[in-house]
Symmetry: C2
Subunit: 514 residues, 2 copies
């Protein structure tokens, strides 16, 4: 079979990390900004984020949440209060100390010593404490509950080693914060939002995920329970794609979030918080990308169909453009996956072949080229990005439907592509979960074996806590492994704990992780 | 006629500034955050912003722009470069100097002296320079032009005196930045975006605005031309609601934004920038608010219709809720102003009357109350927020359509309300523009006269520049007046300049302003 000449110069199998950077760059998703740890999200990358935002926001609102906006800057006192309550307090944060610049007399600018803030302010690493303050003001009685709040915002955590989308100092996210009358209601809401994340990941981003509870050592500092959705990347590593926390009354006590209950006495609220971020785009890249660039699932593709007329700077171009515009209008009038199809007629200057490969690398789900001969024959040349190559010939697998058929069938085609990407990822994930390892030697052998991209191992454990858990974490750390989560719907344990030999109580996933 | 008991304790005529604060608070739009100059935007206020965003974003995208995201933090060097080029450089900015907090040993936290940044970073007051850097990277040839970029973001300018929505240290906005081959194209684009703003203000926010060019002294620093839309508030003052700038090659030269033209030689791009912000919500309040709170134009109302069942904690409630749910479902299936109607069935606990007045103060366009007797008669009690009172009785002007008629006519009703608010504001604005003042004494007399809320004066001027303009500005400043703009479609000048006595060349608006 002929060799395929892929659109990227580096393949996943060659160097997965380098391949990732190549996709981010070649698919024009993002680039370095020149500001340490902060990226510029380019139109195609930001367009994907806008789609994720729109779909997830609809899901969040459908559960009764309202969006608010809270200040970017948070007083030091809020963190001092938190630092008292929370052991794992993260201190790497951007601190604002001055409110004015002045000339230094040498052509430069410096913070004006006269304009030093009495109390420094911190750029929000999360809005937990400032939203807690607001909740304390807004909630008086049980009638004000549940309070269901969400915010879309930029946050900042000073990171030493950054990687586009996966770990950047500034990132974009949504953070939901809710307050409830009872523990049961707050716990139920924690699970409701975990399910919202699971559905969004699987139905919108075509990312198969495992929903489950994080072990004690992986809990959000101050949380009573932390739940996550975990996705497997093509290099076998896990990516935590979203978390949902039940916080008990811990944060309510720190912020004074109290209410008068139905019997008239003062109670602390039970609160939850949950968030997903631009990190999910990293998950989309490492799940759906291939050696030709990104493949964007149709539901989150800014443009689902791109039409490329093969213009030749000749008078005949006008007729060809008409022909393409007819197709564009037909497609724009169709629906796919419950929404009008997003179709672009790309008439920017440039060679048709170069533009085709640009859209291949960007991962537009369907690319339709139309040349003069296509027009004569009443057809178009259609490429499915998820099935790009004809392996027999080593050439792009163009189909040649009539223009009418291409227009009429586009909705079903996009649905098929969404489904195919999810199925492919699910099958790969399932094929890379190992369940027959029952001792540490086996685990060690598996991860030091021949497999270039070893996947996840499901093991049984006795759920040790405290110092016993620390020992387990330490053992795993030596193998660069972590416990991902305890899957919600896993089968019951039926053997010994892989770490302690005691009877196991549940099954957990261990894996290397981002 | 009986006296009306309004829903706010303070009236516009009593103290406009206090009234404004009362609306912000009583309509639950925003509140102080405890962080100096930063507000918390509450669900109803943020919901209005989300509607403005969605509608304006659609308009911006329809003109071919793509959204991006650029870093929050900007290196000092960018401002040093700008400071060289721009005289009116604003220096009040939040400066980040450290990236870590540590315990001070006394229970508090301080910026870690070990974690001082080599070069301080500034929280963006605007992204002009960092987007300029990106444009310089992205543009090589005329084929890359026009480059049409937009960003939705938070920005920060340290303000000494703040007022909710109108002037806050942190605010939300969109900033568009575009690069073009020629001056003509860039100027045309400046006007295109001014027209987008005018349309958004008038059609979406129901704010009648005057589009025109700002005088030289009011130009954005570094701009060749600055255009604005100006709205008249109910106290007669002007609010600049949006600006569009033609920047010539000034910013392209500062950032090195060059392209190879069609003849193969290197040229600097002609750039534009334009923005609107959460300030527009202040304009909505001061245009459509009344002594009962806010009146939200239907196109930007988060909920256009609120249904309030008069529940009595009795078994009959179930039937009443069914009756209301039937109405809700009917209304949700209708369209108004080109979109599905946004309708809320409000079943939160609380007394019906208290809930009604909450929604009156928030300004939901249509409030529908349904009690047991309404249900028996097959009707509902419907209140138009824009025509709240029956002046004959001094009571709320409830209508009693059948449930079926209420459902069927809702689309037209909301359209009527949108139109009525715009018409009312336009008529008030037009009635408060004075055109018969031709000398400075007249101007002085007008603004020191009996009118509580004097409006705008259209005068003719000779368009002085430089020092002569400074003198005019100084004269106006003594009267607390500013030149708003030169309206685009004003009649030609036909008399002497009010300031210099020379023959006038155009007409301008002068006014007090926010």
């Amino acid at each position: 079979m002929p060799e395929i000449r892929h659109a990227l110069s580096i393949k996943r199998a060659d160097d997965f990390a380098q391949w990732y950077q190549a996709v981010v760059s070649e698919a024009q998703l993002a680039e370095e900004s020149g500001v340490r740890g902060c990226m510029v999200i380019k139109p195609w990358g930001y367009g994907i984020w806008e789609r994720i935002q729109r779909l997830l926001d609809d899901r969040i609102k459908a559960k009764g949440h309202e969006n608010c906006y809270f200040p970017l800057l948070i007083p030091l006192a809020n963190f001092e209060r938190e630092a008292e309550h929370v052991e794992g307090f993260a201190k790497e944060m951007a601190v604002v100390t001055h409110h004015r610049l002045i000339a230094d007399g040498k052509g430069g600018l410096i913070p004006d010593p006269e304009a030093k803030l009495e109390e420094p302010l911190v750029i929000r690493p999360t809005s937990e404490t400032i939203i807690g303050d607001a909740m304390a003001r807004w909630i008086q009685s049980w009638r004000d509950l549940p309070l269901l709040t969400n915010q879309w915002a930029n946050v900042m955590r000073w990171e030493m080693r950054t990687r586009m989308f996966l770990r950047t100092s500034e990132f974009l996210w949504q953070e939901g914060h809710t307050a409830h009358e009872t523990a049961e209601q707050a716990k139920a809401h924690t699970m409701t939002m975990l399910e919202v994340y699971r559905t969004c990941a699987e139905e919108d981003l075509a990312l198969p995920v495992i929903a489950g509870e994080k072990p004690e050592n992986e809990r959000f500092p101050g949380a009573v329970e932390t739940w996550s959705i975990e996705a497997m990347m093509q290099d076998g590593k896990a990516l935590q794609a979203g978390t949902s926390h039940y916080l008990g009354t811990n944060f309510a006590k720190a912020s004074g979030i109290q209410f008068q209950d139905r019997e008239g006495s003062q109670q602390f609220c039970h609160t939850t918080s949950w968030g997903v971020s631009t990190r999910m785009i990293g998950g989309v890249i490492m799940t759906h990308g291939d050696d030709d660039g990104l493949r964007v699932p149709p539901r989150i593709a800014p443009w689902q169909v791109v039409i490329l007329p093969m213009l030749r700077d000749k008078p005949e171009d006008a007729e060809l453009l008409d022909y393409c515009e007819g197709l564009r209008a037909t497609i724009a009038g169709r629906h796919a996956l419950g929404e009008p199809v997003r179709v672009l007629l790309d008439t920017k200057p440039g060679k048709a072949a170069a533009k085709r490969w640009d859209w291949v690398r960007k991962g537009a789900p369907v690319i339709i080229e139309v040349g003069a001969r296509d027009m004569e024959n009443g057809v178009v040349s259609l490429l499915r990005r998820d099935a790009l190559w004809d392996v027999e010939t080593g050439k792009p697998a163009f189909q040649s439907p009539t223009r009418e058929v291409a227009g009429q069938t586009i909705g079903g085609l996009l649905g098929d592509i969404q489904h195919a990407l999810f199925t492919e990822a699910t099958e790969r994930r399932d094929a890379n979960i190992v369940r027959d390892i029952s001792d540490m030697d086996g685990l060690r052998a598996f991860y030091s074996g021949d497999a270039q991209f070893p996947g996840w191992v499901e093991v049984q454990w006795s759920k040790p806590t405290g110092a016993a858990l620390d020992k387990v974490v330490e053992q795993l750390k030596e193998l660069k492994l972590t416990i991902r989560n305890v899957p919600m719907d896993g089968p019951a344990a039926d053997g010994p704990c892989i770490f302690t030999g005691d009877p196991a109580v549940e099954r957990i996933y261990v894996a290397k992780a981002y």
